[in-house]
Amino acid sequence: MNTLSISASGGSQARRAPGLMGWLLLAPMILWLVAFVVIPTLILLVYSFCQRGSFGEAVFSFTWENYGRAFDARYLKILMMSIWYAALTTAFCVTIGYPVAWFIARARPALRSKLLLLVMLPFWISFLLRTYAWISLLKAEGIVSAFLQSARLITEPLSILYTPTAVIIGLVYAYLPFMILPIYSSAEKLDESVIEASQDLGAGAIRTFFRVILPLTWPGVSAGVLLVFVPAIGMFAITDLMGGARVPMVGNVIQAQFGAARNWPFGAALGICFLIIFVAVYSVLRERESKA
């Protein structure tokens, strides 16, 4: 999904037709999208109406059975839990990411680029490696546990690995930069004098934040929410590794259908449902932005 387009604000300039040159320049992207997004999605759609053969192969037919099963209480519960974990992750990312982004945006230019580099530094290391690092940090005999015990903050060894808490920590850690960067970019554009005007007109720090700063940085927040919430619902690697398969999320269920369970049609139906949720979240945020 083209989530970043939401951060482009305004659009007050007159639109014009792309013209031949425009289409030529767009061609690589369009081809890429058609080949790797549109066609696969259509294949997925077709699969979602197929039946599973006795050897796990897809048998062509037209059935709503897979969708019916997707709304089975068991999967709905997993879906709800996934949305809940993703929402929690997003909430933590906003609460932690906003002040960080604000601080970076208001820092001296020389310091600013260094801080931004620090935000992006984790991307230089393999994602799996970083997740395994978290596992060794959080495990019962890990460093964090040892530290907390020696500081006498806890008496028992830490037992959060393979729990929802560990999954949330992993998700927040993985997605935090995707929240910080868009918020930073809108905070950086914010004119300092607007904040002063608000204070001058009688608003203290808190009201200035909620009445002026937050509305004006909302495009960044909503882009960040999209970049965190949507992928967090579908994430399966972190839940697998840090949740120890004890915290199933939608991503894991879908992955299982295409893998171990060998039920591609059902996996496809779940995938399509998932896609519909993404589109819904995206359009709600879009709507809020055009109103703001």
Binding site: G10, S193, E196, A197, S198, D200, L201, G202
Partner: protein, 378 residues
């Protein structure tokens, strides 16, 4: 619209602070090793239009920010309506500011912008409505309330910024070079309108600018600011006719600053000084000690009278016209005196009959003794 729109808060003279709306009492503000404002005393009279005039970096904006509360003085006091507000934050001060960049809230409509200050003060919504409407009427923006600020022209934004500050009925309105972003024509119009609004509302205005014409047009009083100090504070014509310092003379209007060697100080207070070979001028030298050797004199170009003979002229001195620049209503002349120093003079282009001066002409210059001002002495 009438004077009954409730802007004048009836506060004139009622502050119990000797008729001063605001005061700076020996205020100093430093940024690191730079002293932006140096022991400044400033008394802003109730209901006056005071302009802080000076070049960029002179400290005038810092003075304004000390008044608004965005800066806290390192030394001295900021006094508002008789009370010390040095450490009162901007949102609790009864002053409002019009920002140089206008600083309108882009996420709010024109009405939303103007109502902002009232909402923050908890004014009830029906009163907000009438006051916002009055304020928009006042700045001639009636009917544009529901526009977004991005749909407005520069001049209209400026008016919104003005309405947004005025609607709060501040004791003092601070304006930070608010006209500098407008084109010349619009700027002139806004100068007159600002002055009109200020007179009608009776609110004290403190206006910051580096444009001397703007200052001369609008102000009741001008404070000439230079290097973190106020060099002179007085009515516009007073500053023009009797500049206190060389800087004030040079910055407000054009001035010839000439060094003179004191020849005699008479008992009647008049003083004689040589400003060039064969050029001795007479001027009021009150306060000049008998042993004073050197003075710096300010002579306005239009105060120099030119004639082709010295007949009937007291204290005239000769020179040669080195250059003539035609300016339309007047001509600017550069006159070389004997001994090498030069003077700028301007001559009104009054009528076709009058002799016009040409390059190379020999002239006799004379200046009335009241028009020569001592700006420095050694």
């Amino acid at each position: 619209m009438s004077g009954s729109n409730g802007y004048s808060n009836g506060s004139n003279g009622s502050h119990g602070s000797n008729g001063f709306a605001m005061e700076l009492r020996s205020v100093t503000k430093r940024y690191g090793s730079v002293t932006a404002v140096n022991a400044v005393d400033l008394q802003i009279r109730d209901g006056e239009f005071l302009t802080l005039l000076g070049p960029s970096g002179c400290g005038k904006t810092t003075i304004l920010r000390l008044l608004s509360g965005f800066e806290v003085p390192d030394e001295g006091q900021v006094v508002l309506a008789g009370g010390d507000v040095s450490h009162v934050p901007p949102h609790k001060r009864d002053v409002n500011q019009v920002f140089q960049s206008y600083a309108l809230f882009p996420h709010l409509t024109v009405e939303g912008n103007v109502a902002f200050g009232l909402r923050m003060r908890g004014v009830d919504s029906s009163e907000i409505k009438t006051r916002v409407k009055d304020a928009l009427d006042l700045v001639a923006l009636d009917g544009l309330g529901s526009r977004r600020t991005s749909e407005l022209s520069g001049g209209q934004r400026q008016r919104v910024a003005l309405a947004r500050a005025l609607v709060c009925r501040p004791k003092v309105l601070l304006l930070d070079e608010p006209l500098s972003a407008l084109d010349a024509k619009l700027r002139e119009m806004m100068q007159i309108e600002l002055k009109r609004i200020q007179q009608r509302l009776g609110i004290t205005f403190v206006f910051v600018t580096h444009d001397q014409e703007e200052a001369l047009t609008m102000s009741d009083r001008i404070a000439v600011v230079n290097k973190g100090r106020i060099e002179q504070i007085d009515a516009a014509d007073e500053i023009y006719e009797h500049p206190a310092t060389a800087f004030a003379a040079d910055f407000v209007g054009a001035a010839n600053l000439v060094r003179g060697e004191v020849l005699a100080v008479r008992n009647n207070g008049q003083c004689e000084a040589r400003i060039g070979e064969g050029a001795v001028v007479l001027f009021r030298g009150e306060g000049i000690a008998a042993d004073c050797a050197d003075v710096l004199l300010s002579i306005r170009p239009e105060k120099i009278h030119l004639s082709d003979s010295s007949e009937g002229l007291m204290g005239a001195f000769p020179g040669a016209i080195e250059d003539v620049i035609f300016r339309g209503a007047f001509a600017e002349l550069r006159i070389l005196l004997e001994g090498g120093s030069a003077l700028r003079a301007s001559v009104a282009n009054a009528s076709a009959h009058k002799r016009s001066w040409r390059k190379g002409d020999r002239v006799w210059c004379s200046v009335h003794h009241d028009d020569i001002v001592v700006v420095d002495r050694h």
